[in-house]
């Protein structure tokens, strides 16, 4: 039987300003029928180009320079337009990132799905029943109603279900999934991944799964290919590649992940030094050699072949040495940040609502916690849980409702920055998620830092210059970066500039709002290391907002779990992760895919996040809680249970019935064993 998809020595180039830039170099891969193949790599490595080449939908300036692409044994570039349409109708479908944009905003979703049946020649009268069937298949509970909706009336998870329904309606041989869950909440992502697994078993469709997230790939795929700078550098079965990588790049990626058992006070994260070569760069020798710890003269002069041995393949001169690469990170153990008992920030009865009357959105309610000097408090929760609103209230960008109390250094903190003293403003700073939009595009790095220092500390002349240079060195940049404009810097470097700016006024509290979620894992590791180091040397307290539980676990001393504007649980990081913990925390933790793949005992959340304009009675979580006790949870607000001095949660369940994480946390200090350690990617 022919393979579902074959790339034969595939090369793709883009024409940019009249010059041809090669982005894929001689990719060889086969996906058997019914097989799920994962393609991983960091941004810029050519993953999406490969995906679009597979459906013959390269951008206007894209061009297949050599090789062939076969779907069902047909060379897709030999097909005439009508045959290509037939192929798309019956044999290959694609689902991509950002479902809100992949659906036509001005047609009801039912109509959009029905087009697939229209093309298949199904009589018009049968469309509604067929659409309802396929929507039911992607686990949409009320297909008749959803069919009439427009895309903007559905949640992100629902939109992606509709997109998937459309893709599988024709029962294709091959389904190309390009980052299908990126940008969705962890709990929604888990549902969508479940759905894809389920459909795969039912339909026996082959899948090309593109993702930057190793853990998602580990959960979904049978085999994995690793792309680096447009070359396939390693390919193997999923369980083998993550346990015994045979290419230094694969090993490096795995080591970058903040894993369970690693936290900032034990070791730094491994990073991959250097940068991805630019597209079209001329390279002699191995493309990864400049960043590789194993590289020697041979690597720099001769490009290794992509050698297959059994069902594994690698493009490395020394695959046997990869296993000896130092997994445990050779990094100085940081001096644990002084977790004294001094409370730098005390918040109580914090509430924030928007609007009036029936429209009143109660985004934060009864929030209260302390932040200690030099510690990191991680804030986790789905989007819409109020994390960012809380951060804005602390910063003074939003005025909290009357009755809220925020105290900084035992002094009450006014609701707006205008009413705060300059010292208070200086002391609380923020690093945003997206350094692209947070930095002024027209200002050089020097100008940005110099303005901040001038405004907040009032330094002038030589003192200011000295401070700028000290800051730039503190974030591991050099003087030559000072004249650069943001567009001349990579994402990681821009985030370093944003961090330098935040540290310019020597803050005591730094709010990090998703500081690494726009970055690749190797860059993320470097930024997390930097934040950990700066905290140790400058004794800053962090409030870390992130949806990535691995990041939160690595950097946080304590964690607060938020849901619908309330803190459901707060406690020391390890205690919150290992449990006993709140049912919502359990659901959040188990929704995150891990590299070991085993994730069958998942706590699944049903239903959508209720509206903040119409909060549920009793416990806010009862509408989605798998352990809801009728008559109690939906009537009365839960009591605060104190598990340890420092670990508090709000739940009606008796403490001995609260769940714990099934996987045991690793004993401290042992090297992580990838086979059984949960990795939160």
């Amino acid at each position: 039987m022919t393979d579902a998809l074959t790339f034969e020595n595939l090369g793709v180039a883009y024409r940019v300003k009249g010059r041809s830039q090669q982005v894929l170099y001689g990719i060889d891969l086969q996906i058997a029928r019914g097989e799920a193949y994962g393609l991983v790599g960091e941004s810029g490595c050519g993953k999406s180009t490969a995906a679009f080449a597979a459906v013959r939908y390269l951008p206007r300036n894209g061009l297949v320079t050599n090789g062939r692409i076969l779907i069902d044994g047909q060379d897709i570039h030999q097909l005439a337009a009508p045959d290509l349409r037939k192929l798309r109708q019956y044999s290959v479908s694609m689902v991509y990132q950002d479902p809100g944009r992949s659906l036509n905003p001005s047609l009801p979703v039912g109509r959009q799905v029905s087009e697939v049946f229209e093309l298949a020649g199904v009589p018009r009268a049968e469309w509604p029943t067929r659409v309802a069937e396929i929507l039911a298949k992607v686990q949409i509970s009320d297909p008749a109603l959803v069919m009439q909706r427009y895309p903007h009336q559905l949640s992100g998870g629902m939109q992606q279900r509709v997109a998937i329904a459309m893709a599988v309606a024709s029962n294709p041989t091959l389904l190309v999934l390009d980052e299908p869950t990126t940008g969705l909440d962890a709990t929604v992502e888990a549902e969508v991944l479940d759905l894809i697994q389920h459909l795969r078993r039912e339909l026996s469709t082959a899948i090309l799964f593109i993702s930057h997230n190793l853990a998602v790939i580990a959960r979904m795929c049978d085999r994995v290919g690793v792309l680096y700078a447009g070359r396939l550098v390693e390919e193997a079965r999923t369980d083998e590649i993550f346990r015994t990588p045979r290419h230094p790049y694969t090993a490096g990626l795995l080591n970058c992940l903040p894993q369970a058992g690693r936290s900032k006070d034990k070791a730094l994260l491994a990073t991959i030094p250097g940068f991805l070569p630019g597209p079209g760069a001329q390279i002699t020798g191995c493309v990864f050699a400049p960043r590789c710890a194993l590289a020697d003269c041979l690597c720099q002069t001769r490009d290794p072949a992509f050698v297959r041995a059994g069902d594994r393949a690698t493009k490395c001169h020394y695959p046997e040495r990869v296993a000896d690469m130092n997994r445990a990170v050779a990094a100085p153990v940081l001096v644990a940040a002084g977790q004294g008992s001094r409370r730098i920030l005390q918040i109580s009865d914090l509430a924030k609502s928007f609007g009036n009357g029936l429209q009143r959105q109660r985004v934060l309610r009864d929030v209260g916690f302390d932040l200690r000097a030099g510690e990191t408090l991680g804030l986790v929760g789905e989007s819409g849980s109020g994390k960012t609103t809380l951060a804005r209230c602390i910063l003074g960008l939003l005025q909290p409702d009357p009755g809220s109390r925020i105290q900084f250094d035992d002094q009450p903190l006014a609701g707006t920055t205008a009413a705060r003293s300059r010292d208070q403003v200086k002391s609380i700073q923020i690093v945003f998620q997206n350094p692209d939009s947070a930095l002024n595009r027209a200002h050089s790095v020097h100008r940005m830092l110099s303005r901040t220092i001038g405004l907040l500390i009032g330094l002038r002349g030589a003192a200011r210059e000295a401070r700028i240079r000290a800051l730039i060195r503190a974030v591991r940049l050099t003087d030559r970066h000072l004249t650069a404009l943001p567009r001349q810097l990579s994402g990681g470097l821009k985030q370093r500039v944003a961090i330098a700016r935040a540290f310019a006024s020597d803050p005591q509290i730094l709010i990090c709002d998703e500081p690494t979620s726009a970055l690749d894992v190797s860059v993320q590791a470097a930024i997390l290391n930097l934040l950990a180091e700066l905290q140790a040397t400058k004794q800053v307290s962090y409030i870390l907002i992130s949806h990535d539980l691995g990041v939160v676990r690595y950097l946080s001393d304590r964690i607060a779990v938020m849901y619908l504007g309330q803190v459901l649980e707060i406690g020391p990081a390890e205690a919150v992760f290992s449990g006993p913990h709140h049912p919502y925390t359990a659901a959040l933790l188990s929704s995150v895919p891990s590299i070991d793949g085993g994730n069958n005992d998942r706590v699944r959340l049903t239903g959508a996040l209720p509206s903040t304009a119409n909060l549920p009675n009793g416990c806010v979580f009862h509408t989605r809680c798998p352990r809801m006790m009728p008559g109690l949870c939906d009537q009365t607000a839960p009591p605060q249970i104190t598990l340890h001095a420092d670990h508090v949660l709000a739940c009606h369940l008796p403490p001995d019935q609260l769940s714990t994480t099934a996987r045991q946390p690793l004993p401290d200090g042992t090297g992580p064993n990838l086979a059984d350690s949960p990795v939160y990617g």
Binding site: Y57, R88, S93, L103, P105, S106, L107, Q112
Partner: protein, 280 residues
């Protein structure tokens, strides 16, 4: 009105008659309340009520605007769509260059050239847009073709550019990719998925330009001897006929508000994101 050597007594009497000796605010309130109840005052120049003049002028202007509108909207949209479909190719370049060139030529230049070629030299069209009293529909239309061409020239480039931009955005959108990858034919993709989303922004542009078609035609109307609102305002200004001027400007303002409102309603009707409000 009474001439430079008028008797001060007579001036005072006239001022009193016309109410111009009262404070400005009182005069304004008086005029405003009159306007709202349909009484637009007396024309200084014609010594008769303003309303009938304004009515005729508005009707005439609407006829001219309608002809220009019916010509330019389909042409502009068609041009823009074609340019977008052939993006970057010669067809696109030619359409863009022609559109922009036509837009920057003032209407008095193109009007005169058109009169010279089609009215004086070829004698295909009358050089005056004013028809005889008992002219029928086709005759009136015949008179209006030539004056509407300069308007079409000015607006074509503008509408085509908007339509082109909207089309290109929609062609590059993810939902268009979804439609193509479903295996739909090219015409199906364009008609069902691209056009509807592409032309939404163009609608609001067209609506604001409609008002220009009615109210901004001073030059065209003078050039073609046409009794529209533009020439009414021009003549009123020349004769210092303030009630007439006020009423004319007010009418154009009201038209602008109504046209914008209609455009917004149409936009909402065609755009489900506005029709059905936010996420439920």
């Amino acid at each position: 009105m009474l001439g430079p050597f008028a008797d001060p007594k007579a001036v005072e009497t006239l001022n009193h008659q016309m109410g111009t000796d009262r404070p400005v605010l009182v005069q304004y309130a008086d005029w405003m309340s009159g306007f709202l109840t349909g009484d637009m005052g007396q024309s200084y120049a014609y010594r008769s009520p303003v309303a009938p003049f304004l009515g005729t002028a508005l009707l005439n202007s609407s006829k001219l605007a309608a002809v220009a509108f019916i010509l330019v909207v389909p042409l502009g949209i068609f041009g823009g769509v074609i340019a977008a479909l052939y993006r970057g190719r010669p067809t696109d370049r030619i359409l863009s260059v022609v559109g922009i060139s036509a837009t920057v030529v003032p209407e008095f230049v193109s009007g005169i050239v058109l009169i010279l070629i089609f009215g004086v030299w070829l004698r295909w069209f009358p050089i005056s847009a004013t028809w005889s009293a008992n002219a029928g529909f086709w005759n009136q239309l015949y008179h209006l073709i030539l004056p509407s061409v300069p308007l079409v020239l000015i607006l074509f480039g503008y509408i085509a550019r908007m339509a082109r931009a909207g089309m290109i955005e929609a062609l590059d959108a993810d939902y268009t990719r979804t439609a193509v990858l479903k295996g739909l034919t090219y015409p199906q993709v364009i008609w069902r998925h691209v056009l509807r989303n592409a032309l939404l922004p163009t609608i609001s542009v067209i609506a604001t330009q409609t008002v220009y078609l009615i109210g901004g035609l001073v030059v065209i109307e003078i050039l073609f001897h046409y009794q529209g609102i533009g020439s009414l305002i021009y003549i009123a200004a020349k004769k210092k006929d303030f009630p007439m001027l006020q009423a004319g400007v007010m009418a154009i303002g009201a038209l602008f508000a109504v046209a914008t409102l209609l455009a917004d309603l149409l936009y909402a009707r065609l755009n489900p994101r506005i029709r059905f409000g936010g996420r439920e």
